[in-house]
């Protein structure tokens, strides 16, 4: 199991289209992928868009990614890259 903080650097935060990009990417991996809000402890399945939207994560919200499964390392790297690029909105 891997755990990493995710930077939310784009102005709009984890909004609907950004969440959709995350879900599409997450779905390409076999491992389980969970997002956890640091402040509230709220958890979301990164492969479900409505679950991700319920986190209401705005710019600067501290969340971390928990990946568990065979391809967890690749999944974490790819998702961190997506977040670091601000979902292509920077």
């Amino acid at each position: 199991m891997l755990e990493m903080p995710l930077p939310i650097v784009n102005t709009l935060g984890l909004h609907a289209r950004a969440a959709a990009q995350l879900v599409r990417l997450a779905a390409t991996f076999q491992c389980s992928l969970t997002l956890v809000r640091e402040d509230t402890g709220l958890r979301a399945n990164a492969k479900s868009i409505l679950s991700v939207l319920h986190l209401a994560a705005s710019s600067g919200t501290r969340i971390r990614l928990v990946a568990d499964g065979e391809d967890e390392a690749e999944a974490v790297a790819a998702i961190i890259d997506l977040f670091s690029r601000g979902f292509g909105e920077l």
Binding site: A19, A20, I49
Partner: protein, 141 residues
């Protein structure tokens, strides 16, 4: 995998716009379509449009009709198509419900999908302030 089709049926342009918004989020979806019933359309015309829409999205696994309001004309006309295991109706459609249907990739029966969409629709209605409050508390602390 054979998908369950869905048709959004509403008064005015609500159905078209809900579909457009869902597609802006999850990308184009081929198993979903929308029928907007004009305020002055006659019943037969609307019925034909819904029939055509059902045929267009049906892949043999059933079709879910998402209507705007129980008791309204779109729901009443849609109800003419109700058929066990073939056509189900869920009323009170909102954007999360459409996104749920659009992004669903689990294999399930029409009945199961209808139940999930009802649950999703209800869950999506909340007082946002109640959910966002802990965050503000956290910042103040």
């Amino acid at each position: 995998m054979k998908r369950i089709g869905a048709v959004i049926v509403s008064h005015g342009q609500v159905a078209n716009e809900l579909l457009a918004a869902a597609e802006a989020v999850v990308g184009e979806v081929s198993h979903l379509t929308a029928v907007s019933i004009g305020w002055h359309d006659d019943v037969e015309l609307a019925q034909n449009e819904i029939r055509r829409a059902i045929d267009a999205v049906s892949a043999g696994n059933g079709v879910l009709l998402l209507t705007d309001m129980f008791g309204g004309t779109p729901t009443n006309i849609a109800a003419m198509f109700l058929k066990e295991n073939e056509v189900e109706i869920v009323t009170g459609v909102n954007l999360p419900m459409v996104i749920k249907v659009a992004s669903n990739n689990k294999t399930m029966t029409l009945h199961e999908l209808a139940e999930e969409v009802v649950g999703q629709g209800k869950e999506a209605i909340c007082r946002a302030g109640m959910l966002l409050a802990p965050q503000r508390v956290g910042k103040d602390a």
